[in-house]
């Protein structure tokens, strides 16, 4: 089981996902730090992500878009709040217009990624998402569903086949 536990707190509007990964933190850091690797997992297979900018420094931004099955694009941005390699990344995640400029009418979340080394050169990755309001959470869920939350299995197979 990759995902070890999840905790939903409807009062505090947080979702915590804990995963056990078969690589040390220095390697797991790369899937966040290298935009080419990020592109392989941030979006679901039906809505792959393309990172245009990715400046993993405190105050730095990432801009990306996701491309849907009919070629439609959904733009997003991150702003890095804390960067402590290879332990911690905190960032805001929001939507953008087609030029990559942040769209403040749409919800933003704050994500915290903790990487802790565990026995056998493994990593415990804890992701905590905090929603600004319940309303925003609903909006995000609706949008996440548009982007498609299924098909992960097919994508894993494809990566495996690629070797």
């Amino acid at each position: 089981m990759t995902v070890v536990s999840t905790t939903k707190d409807p009062q505090a509007l947080t979702l915590t996902v804990v995963a056990d990964l078969a690589a040390p933190p220095s390697r797991v850091w790369q899937v966040w730090a290298d935009p080419r690797q990020l592109e392989r997992w941030w979006g679901p297979p039906t809505w792959p992500a393309t990172f245009v900018d990715h400046d993993l420094t405190v105050g730095g931004r990432a801009t990306y878009y996701m491309t849907g099955p009919d070629g439609e694009k959904a733009h997003g941005w991150w702003r890095f709040v804390t960067v402590d390699e290879p332990r911690l990344i905190e960032f805001e995640d929001g939507f953008a217009d087609e030029t990559g400029a942040p769209n403040d009418d749409l919800p933003r979340t704050r994500a915290r990624v903790d990487l802790t080394p565990t026995d056998g050169d493994r990593t415990r990755m804890t992701i905590t998402s905090t929603f600004a309001s319940a309303e925003q959470m609903e909006q995000l869920v609706a949008m996440g569903m548009v982007e498609g939350i299924t098909g992960a299995v097919g994508q894993i197979d494809a990566i495996l086949a690629e070797g």
Binding site: L15, E135, M137, V141, M145, L160
Partner: protein, 114 residues
């Protein structure tokens, strides 16, 4: 939108209602045990009318039901609607499960970053 339109509108009401801390607290209380509006008003530093207004918002969202008993209005939590809220968080959880699975696949197929 993949989300059914009717469910979507309903969710707007529910989340609008839950966006306020006092209303979330009222829901938590009346899920545990029914309470009258005047009992609730005593728990918060606000007027009967203000609490009454919060209850109306919650009632419209289907999170609580109100029943008149004598001179009292009893408020009760609707477990089903609260469950639906948790289900929305579960959908967000699915998004992250998908991402974690894909990270796992990348780590397993490549020993080191290219």
């Amino acid at each position: 939108m993949v989300v059914d339109r009717a469910i979507d509108e309903r969710a707007d009401l529910v989340f609008g209602a839950l966006a306020d801390a006092t209303r979330r607290d009222i829901v938590a209380r009346v899920l545990a045990a029914e309470a009258s509006v005047s009992e609730l008003a005593r728990k918060y530093a606000m007027s009967f009318a203000a609490v009454q207004k919060h209850v109306v918002v919650l009632e419209r969202a289907g999170l609580v039901t109100k029943e008149r008993r004598g001179r009292e209005q009893l408020v009760r939590g609707d477990v089903e609607t609260v469950r639906a809220t948790v289900r929305l968080l579960e959908q967000y959880e699915d998004i992250w499960r998908g991402r974690v699975d894909r990270i796992d696949a990348i780590l397993r197929t490549e020993g080191e970053p290219r």
